[in-house]
Symmetry: C2
């Protein structure tokens, strides 16, 4: 356990923590995951590397927390913009298509946010070839987001708006994964019209009714 | 233009070409795209680097051809196993669901083929952060495969088995992209049962009929 902080320490710590997050995200975006080190993060943040080792066991942990913090800040800004916070869920207005379209449009905005895109790409790329890191990032960052779709689809199932036999964990991939692949692999352009279309196809199917 | 080959040269060239492909795929799998160089490929293949420069302008081109060749060999083996070649298309038996399930099951096998997986991951990872390489690989490797799904879905549209207003280029992503994301990001396990379910959900939709 570290010593009990002196009165000024928590404010000083918060400032250091912000500087470390910013340095970690900038470095991974600029040089990639393998070349980002605790030493380079410390140098860029203007702190000693012992400061980093005191709080995080590894660079993967620093990056994961920095990235989680980025997401929380974006959610807080979005909450502010909406006049009320709805950071931890997908809206449930009773109109499943409208709710999914709204959350996918917000995801499109986030994917092209310059503060998000470069570090997200660097970490995603590393996760493709580094199984341990990939699994850790999925568990801590991606899975909690996918869980929100599972909850929204279950609620739609309860309301009779989704077929009873459908597995929500697979169903969400019909609209989430196409957007993810277009973003990761740049297979085709991304627009609101595109994500709206994904929701319509997923909900109503491709074969004639 | 190179000199006209001597009688033995084409056989010798073919052997060198195979050695260069194998070296390129092994190196990118072991060390990643950035550390794979023309020099290291030449050394591993036991050829002079001028031999490589004579045939390919860059390491990206060597890797792309090596990877295309890997796909062609897998298709040829599959054709042999089936007793007849159907290398360049998705079967059209008139049963869209069955045809899509069959081709996705074959894709699952390919994704976990040890000869394919490591170089494919290394190149996919590089494509996420290297836009030029990513776009080139999509255009030359991925797009031709996606085009096969577009053709199969158009034929289903002509037969009345897919709604007339559906855009086949988007529709194919409902079953192709979920598999791609589970493979790239390891978000959840992959099985034949999973890809079969994707086809059923995509064709019949999530909302009750």
């Amino acid at each position: 356990m570290p010593d009990k902080p002196a009165p000024d320490a928590s404010r000083r710590s918060e400032k250091s923590r912000r500087a470390i997050y910013a340095a970690a995200l900038a470095l991974v975006a600029e040089t990639g995951y393998p070349k980002t080190t605790i030493e380079s993060i410390a140098a860029r943040a203007g702190v000693g590397k012992q400061t980093i080792y005191r709080w995080w066991p590894s660079k993967a942990d620093v990056l994961m927390e920095a990235f989680l913090d980025l997401g929380e800040q974006a959610a807080a800004r979005q909450g502010d913009a909406q006049g009320e916070g709805q950071p931890d869920g997908i809206p449930d207005t009773g109109d499943l298509a409208a709710d999914l379209k709204a959350v996918l449009r917000a995801t499109v905005d986030e994917l092209f946010d310059p503060a998000f895109e470069a570090p997200a790409r660097a970490l995603a790329a590393e996760g493709v070839v580094n199984e341990q890191l990939g699994r850790e990032f999925v568990a801590k960052l991606l899975q909690p987001q996918l869980e929100l779709y599972v909850r929204r689809l279950r609620s739609a199932q309860d309301a009779g708006a989704v077929r009873p036999g459908v597995d929500p964990r697979i169903a969400l991939e019909l609209f989430v994964s196409p957007l993810a692949q277009r973003w990761l692999q740049r297979t085709a352009p991304i627009s609101y019209e595109y994500t709206d279309t994904l929701v319509d196809y997923a909900l109503y199917g491709l074969v004639p009714r």
